[in-house]
């Protein structure tokens, strides 16, 4: 029997919680009129927002106060989410899981009492990875546990083998930062100094973490007092009724939306490279969503077994999916998402990369596996929505960046004081293209709506570095599509006023992981480059700030994905990139006017316009060039097993997305067809890819933007295009490992095979 206990295996609460009877739970209800309801709902929402603002003001880590890598919440007495703030959204489930575990495991010993707060950073209980530490405070009315207030905050360093606590070299949790199951950090209003010091002792920057931890405690205190006052004014039963009705409303909203989606099953898979430092393997993550009636069922079957440091626990898996789902489907609930969660049922395969068992390492999840799963979730939800009512199909938001491109450096200030510099400039971000249009350039990340990148001046104030440039990435093959992905950024810097620094964490991908939906190009691979013995200082003296990394003299270091700490002397220079987000639909189907507009603003070069989009000056020349490209695709592709049949022009098509459409018979799906070529690809119950012409190439040969060197994992990655056998336009594409079968990723129930 599988025991989801939060000890040997991730914690998954049962339908009913086992809470000792000694803990009195408030469950009262009352009649609440529509006006009083709104007054209380508004107060609760504001209490949670003010909770977030307090954290932001009092915290000292840029990653908290600027990046918004934290999340306050209000939850019911049994830990169901009432309000989530506009901060990091994959913390969606973290507090709920941790509180439910506390109720089941701490109510008897040491007990849950007024004025207490519990802290935990145990991923097997509820947090995505160890730096994300939860502080949860019960709110009592009389002797009854009325509700909970909690926050999660990313701390700059909580120990482990790597500065900043993303331990990419860990092969199990014993090399990770310590994971503390929930402990009573505050007892009846008093901070337990012994436990606080135990926690701080693990950190390389204890002062910093101390300030942030105290900010978390203070902010909780304020929120607890406000909710207690609200219950005092309107009555606990009334306030609780409002909480429950907020939950019910979220459930009702998602149920209505689900009614616009046919029953069916949608899958997507993504790859990661390097399970730990020194590894060059490629690993598979897969998510399948099944929609049946008014419920969603989510599993991770097809995901590789847990290994190295690229794992997450159930908290991470469910948190990532829920973040992508609520942003796509129910963003209008503005954080009142608890009711939505009631309709999502997870059935994870344990012992896997996305639902690991103890003692798998998980600490780098904050920049790798969480983003991989958010991207994966967004892709699979997008596929599901493509089959929904037309007005809902536009809710797809596409695959997010599959990693959080970041850079953590460490060293000592000229004064000798050590520092850990967490550079979260990737908050600049970029949004994926969607069926609605281009992704937003520098649009941040949908899963952290208010996240903000630092100013260069803030970075240089805090840490001894000088930045040569931070500029927009050009649009290119990376992120191209009928609608293109948003543009990201690239930055470069050198150590400044110190003899050197260490690059503790960096992201260098040998291939892009997230492919664009329905034939869109993949986004960028994130890169980190390092040169030693450069001429930067000499060029400063000559009146120049170098602007082209390739033109900087010096020896280029060979950088690996999840490589070891890199030492950088005073004459070193580094460059790293965020990413252009994935495109949507075939780049050759992009409106030439949009391509020209990008050339005009300087976002796209004329060279890339021709190479990637087949757009040259003159409408006729563009048509001719594109026709030649499409013909060349078909000439190089493996045709479908049977010659294509087309449907007559008078047969109505229901467009799903890009070039993919369906015909219907008697209101039921009949067959997959292409939009422009009207080629029948497969009957509705089969895989539409079976009827496509298939063009498969090494990914690195598709465009210089995807180049990598032999020997790295990405060199083996392949790009497979599923083409309309009539027109050559892409219907879909996949990044695959050699020999991977086409994923049967869209199955609509009720369609005969």
């Amino acid at each position: 029997m599988t025991i989801w206990d939060g000890v040997r295996r991730s914690y998954i609460p049962g339908e009913t919680l086992c809470i000792p009877g000694t803990l009195r739970m408030h469950t009262g209800t009352a009649d609440v009129d529509p006006v009083t309801f709104e007054v209380i709902r508004y107060s609760l929402m504001n209490t949670n927002l003010e909770h977030g603002q307090t954290i932001q003001r009092l915290a000292v880590s840029p990653v908290t106060m600027i990046t918004r890598d934290f999340q306050p919440s209000i939850l019911t007495e049994c830990g169901d989410l009432v309000f989530l703030g506009p901060y990091l959204q994959y913390f969606s489930n973290a507090q709920a899981l941790t509180i439910k575990w506390i109720l089941e495991n701490r109510a008897g010993n040491p007990g849950i009492e007024p004025g207490d707060m519990f802290a935990s950073n145990d991923p097997y209980v509820g947090t995505p990875h160890q730096p994300d530490t939860i502080v949860a405070a019960p709110v009592f009315v009389g002797d009854e546990l009325f509700c909970w207030v909690a926050n999660v905050m990313h701390h700059s360093d909580v120990g482990g083998t790597v500065m900043g606590s993303f331990c990419v070299d860990a092969t199990d949790i014993f090399s990770d930062p310590p994971a503390f199951p929930p402990f009573k950090l505050v007892s009846r209003g008093e901070v337990r100094r012994d436990l606080e010091e135990m926690f701080l002792r693990q950190s390389r920057v204890p002062t910093n973490v101390h300030m942030d931890l105290r900010a978390a405690i203070s902010a909780n205190r304020v929120a607890v007092a406000k909710i207690a006052a609200l219950a005092g004014r309107y009555g606990a039963d009334t306030v609780k009724t409002v909480m429950n009705r907020v939950l019910d409303a979220g459930e009702r909203t998602v149920t209505q939306r689900l009614a616009g989606i046919p029953d069916g099953r949608w899958s997507h898979r993504l790859y990661a490279e390097a399970a730990h430092t020194g590894d060059a393997g490629v690993y598979t993550y897969q998510i399948t969503v099944r929609k049946q009636g008014e419920h969603l069922y989510v599993d991770n079957a097809g995901t590789d077994p847990q290994t190295g440091s690229i794992n997450v626990t159930y908290a991470g898996f469910s948190g990532a999916f829920l973040a992508a789902l609520t942003a796509s489907l129910t963003a209008d609930l503005a954080g009142a998402y608890g009711g939505v969660y009631r309709r999502v049922h997870f059935d994870p395969v344990p012992g896997t990369l996305s639902c690991a068992d103890f003692p798998a390492a998980v600490s780098p999840a904050g920049i790798y596996t969480m983003e991989t799963l958010i991207s994966l979730s967004g892709a699979v939800i997008g596929k599901m929505l493509s089959c929904a009512e037309p007005e809902m199909a536009g809710l797809a938001i596409g695959p997010a960046h599959p990693a959080f491109y970041g850079f953590i450096a460490g060293g000592a200030h000229p004064t000798g004081e050590p520092f850990v510099a967490t550079n979260a400039d990737n908050m600049i971000g970029s949004l994926a293209a969607s069926p609605a249009g281009d992704g937003v350039d520098f649009g941040g990340h949908f899963w952290i709506p208010e996240g903000t990148a630092s100013n260069i001046e803030e970075l240089e104030l805090l840490w001894p570095m000088l930045h040569l440039y931070r500029r927009a990435l050009n649009a290119g093959a990376d992120g191209a599509g009928q609608f293109r992905g948003g543009r990201g950024f690239v930055e470069a810097g050198i150590p400044w006023t110190v003899p050197g620094l260490a690059a503790a964490l960096y992201v260098d991908e040998s291939f892009p992981k997230a492919v664009g939906p329905f034939g869109g190009n993949p986004g960028s691979a994130g890169h980190f480059r390092l040169r030693h013995g450069t001429d930067v200082i000499a060029r400063f003296a000559a009146g120049e700030v170098p602007q082209d990394f390739d033109a900087i003299d010096g020896a280029e270091a060979e950088v690996e994905a999840k490589g070891p700490m890199l030492m950088m002397g005073a004459d070193a220079a580094w460059e790293w990139t965020g990413a252009n987000a994935p495109g949507f639909g075939d780049p050759l189907a992009r409106d030439p006017g949009l391509v020209e507009a990008d050339i005009d603003t300087g976002a796209l070069s004329a060279e890339a316009a021709e190479r990637v989009y087949g757009v040259v000056p003159g409408d006729e020349a563009t048509r001719t060039l594109r026709a030649g490209r499409l013909a060349a695709r078909l000439a190089g592709a493996v045709p479908p097993a049977t010659a294509p049949v087309t449907v007559p022009a008078d047969v109505p098509l229901r467009v799903l997305a890009g070039e993919l459409a369906m015909t219907e018979r008697d209101g039921s799906p009949e067959a997959f067809v292409t939009v422009t070529g009207r080629a029948v690809l497969a009957l509705a119950g089969s895989n539409f890819k079976d009827g496509c012409a298939v063009l498969e190439r090494p990914l690195h040969s598709v465009a210089p933007e995807f180049a990598t060197r032999d020997g790295r994992a990405g060199y083996q990655a392949r790009y497979r295009e599923y083409l309309c056998p009539v027109t050559g336009l892409r219907v879909d594409s996949e990044i695959v490992k050699p020999g991977d079968e086409p994923l049967h990723d869209i199955v609509i129930a009720g369609a005969g095979a």
Binding site: E38, R41, V191, A331, F442, I456, Y469
Partner: protein
Amino acid sequence: MYYVGVDIGGTFTDCVLVDRQGNHRSAKVLSTKDDPVTGVLAGLGQLAETAGVDLPTLLERTERFGHGTTIGTNAVLERRGARVGLVATAGHGDALLMMRGAGRAAGRTIESVFRVHGTGLPAPLIVPGAVAEVQERVDASGTVVVELDTAAAAEQITRMIWEYDLDSVAIALLWSFANPAHENALAQAIPDAFVSVSSQVSPRLGEYERTVATVLNGYVGPATSGYLSELASRLATPLLVMQSNGGVLPAAAATPLGTLDSGPAGGLIGVATLAGAYGHDQVVGTDMGGTSFDLGLVIDGKPVVAEVNVIDQYTYRLPHLDVRSVACGGGSIAWFDEATGGLRVGPASAGSEPGPACYGRGGTEPTVTDADVVLGLIRAETFLDGRMPLDRAAAVAAVGRLADRAGLTVAETAAGILRINNMQAATVIRQQTLERGLDPRDFVLYAFGGAGPVHAFGYAAESGVREVVIPLGNGASTLSAYGIASGDVVLYHELERSLLAPFDGAALATAVTEVRDAALAGLAAAGVPGEPVVEIDALMRYREQLMHSLEIPVSPPADGASLLAGFDKEYVRRYGEGGTALFEAVEVFALRARVSVPAGIPLPRPEPAGSAGSALAGHAPAGPERTDVYWPGRGWARTGVYRGAPAGTITGPALVELAHTTVAVPHGASLSAGPLGELRLKEF
């Protein structure tokens, strides 16, 4: 001799005149958007008529002519500003474009910030592509790392001006606030363009916000300057221009950026001026209009100042009066949320077009104003002095449709709309006071704007405030113009300077002197006569707490120990004893000097006994008439109606109808005219 204040708003241009005795008169005319000067002249003409003089005489007798303009704000919102190009440090010219990744969400309401769909970056402020990245670099200490080749850079910029046909150039280099030499050299070298320099416009840490400030200044600069010189020439009188910091400056010295958002500042400075006259130290100023509820605080007699401002998703830093705006005004639309079964109000607003259902201009959604009409708090036939009769039946029908869905009576629904709207307004009041560690019960609430006095009893009670003042009585609807007339000349200077506790007394004194002298020099350059008052604040925080800032007053000679004690005291007041973090060093990260020359506007003239308010707009108190009003929480009651401010004290329930608003006096409350013509509502 007169003090004149003119405030151009979206709909009305308000003019106020105050004479040496403190008598004041006001005029309200329609704004003329395409040619604002015409509207101003019409308003002044009307004002002259009220004062019994002709326009030239009025202008001749005007000693101080204060003016608030929305030219700049409109230019930004409608993207009708100058053709601006940006000069940036090599490698950093895209900071404006990338907006720190926060451009999509900046300044958006909480209801929309979770939403990805349909969101994007705002339209650019510079001509796309018009960026000259010049070779130069300064580091965090202000040390020059790469020398500027001024001639080469100037040539590069000149080429950009020509290529992009620019009329405005914004120079914003990295770390220029720490060492402005390169910016200054470039500013000198650029020919024939409106030049804005970041180390002068917004000399603060953070290149993105500093660049936005500089570009905005360049974007609105040419139009603002052009308009002000035209107005000055047609009036033949020197102008003092209202700034968002609540002060005025001679037109030639005013920074265009400072005129952005100066409208709400006028209201708050009017509140602060009158608070001094009425003897109030702690005031919540509330302006409820058709679409928004604006709130600002006066603490210890001074209006509260903020730094960060957002216009159309662009964030910048400039000391400005901290006026918060939320979408709960007379036009806020009430609706029924089927999912929760709750009644909601806003954030959508019917605005003034089509406006509330009762306006009869095609609006069908129930609004807060419709609820007022249903309840009888606003009488349809006497709205705006009877100049705009309202359609009560339309209001009842609109609210009635909502009532059917909510399962409440029409009156209950209308009362519910008010309760929710009041709750939203009170939440901002509570947030603004409690966040600063202040108790709303220690504040007096000033209510103005068309929808302020009618709702004040509700949101004041909800927020815990004990007394409401309707400043200037009948003149409450032109309070911004009054503020503009009464505004002191104010100039701010800021200096980024990191000093760690325990403070080195000499370094602190040097910094204080430096910021003080720079501010005084600025005032001298502006050519303002009079004895300046200098106030200096240290901006402090625990080191590395980058998002936090406490302003601690510095009284020369600067004393490090008392500064630190002041910080600790303020920190404890806001966050409690547990909040202080003795394990991290306290730092001063910037100093801010405010120099001002008091306007010396005469106190509002005390009204002769027995005729309080009558001088304000010529309304003799008539009645009381009687009408039926549904008072939230009590139900229908016969209610006395007074036209114009009453003499003596009246007790509720009562309505007092003023020229542009109504004061609602609930059961048990009392309303009396104060000695300076203001109305005071108590015990509500």
